[in-house]
Symmetry: C2
Subunit: 230 residues, 2 copies
DNA sequence: ACAAAAGTGTTCGCTTTACACCCATGT
DNA sequence: ACATGGGTGTAAAGCGAACACTTTTGT
């Protein structure tokens, strides 16, 4: 029994980065095909003996030079049957994050160009990639409220105000500094360091780091980490 | 540029049903292959011009005769590279529900047999299907807390105690009757009918029905429907 | 001394929780 | 009359929301 299914399996990566109060997504310029010269999500076809998540890591690395820190499966988009006239493409989208240290781009031959685009001014992308980014953003916003995913977008040591700004940027609303700090610290997975952030002006802030070992313990104990704040 | 990817795309359906304080999953007996005679989730290969969700509906119907009411994408399982020696299979799993009226089975030639299995006594299944069911169950439990998904598992008119029992069965814990009723009714998407449930004994309970139009309005208004109860 | 950002506590109101008795029906 | 399940209110505690002044540093 041999199948003659004419479907090809691809992956796409929605990779978020954060810098200077702005949330960014990693995009590449299409080099071939009907969507040539449009910007698109990095991604490509899965190799026969390659795990899906490894395909995403590989494609993102090849196309942009960026090494992703965190990745999770988002959704499988497979209903746009006529997207490619030669065969049907079903694409498993993964969303991920990189911390600011790893945002530098090293364009390769696979892409004409690669760039970080601010979520605030997103161009019209190839295929249904604008829609996919919206889905990823919804997931990111949702996860901020019950998983410590925001830390992946910051340096390993960061002042509290950065975390606060990150949440405000992504959720697009004001947050009360006092309540936010109290709530986050009450979980107990943030560790105080003895270093300080040298600001341009104003009082220097203590640097904190995320203690992932402690987090896993709390997670194991089934403690609710829901983050609600004013 | 012709691809010679040797991957085939399948779908699996994790279909939940509920009756008599028991949560059930729909399974079929494998008729061919290395896993012959083991029980497995209904599913099969996607046709070239068929949407993923339609492939699930079709396969479940063909293999069990059951028409699914609600379906949503769960996860794509694609890392078990050696599951089938002839080619790699990547499977998009959908989880769904049927109400008690539609739980009757009409086995067809595609499956040796089809049956509802209680979650409480699940046999060892083919492939990684036990794991997939766990993932689906987690999602179902999670969704109970913020989406009115439970109603899909009941008849369109139901006494309040059925809803309560459903939640207790799926979440596997006690719930305070008074607080639960207050909370659910406060959302305003349940409609009282003038019919009564004729119990074997005891005072007959009023029948309610889920008003999905009202629910969509509330959803639109962005009102939080988080369900927490003692 | 002034500007800029960090650090910190208390009060109020709402939601969740805990809890027990009466009601309607069938036998 | 008794057994069975349905229907209901109130008080206490905990959590989220609102809110402003002091501290440290650079200029």
């Amino acid at each position: 029994m041999k199948l003659k299914q004419n479907i090809n399996l691809a992956v796409d990566g929605i990779i978020f980065g954060y810098q200077d109060h702005q949330l960014y997504v990693l995009l590449i310029k299409q080099k071939y095909g009907s969507q040539k010269d449009k910007w698109a999500l990095p991604g490509g076809f899965v190799l026969d003996d390659e795990k899906l998540i490894d395909a995403v890591k590989r494609e993102v690395k090849e196309e942009t030079g960026v090494k992703v820190q965190y990745l999770e499966q988002l959704y499988t988009f497979g209903d746009d049957i006529d997207r490619d006239p030669r065969f049907r493409v079903v694409s498993v989208a993964y969303f991920g994050t990189v911390n600011p240290k790893h945002m530098e781009l090293k364009p390769t031959t696979d892409a004409l160009d690669a760039q970080w685009f601010s979520i605030a001014k997103m161009p019209k992308l190839a295929f249904d990639h604008n829609k996919i980014i919206e889905v990823a953003l919804d997931r990111l916003r949702g996860k901020l409220n019950y998983q410590p995913i925001g830390f992946n977008l910051l340096d390993s040591k960061f002042p509290f105000s950065d975390l606060e700004q990150l949440y405000m940027t992504i959720l697009d609303r004001d947050i009360d500094r006092r309540n936010f700090r109290k709530k986050i610290l009450s979980f107990g997975f943030l560790e105080e360091t003895d270093e300080f952030h040298k600001a341009g002006s104003g009082r220097p802030g203590k640097l904190f780091k995320f203690n992932s070992k402690k987090y896993k313990e709390l997670e194991q104990e089934g403690i609710s980490l829901e983050i609600k704040f004013a």
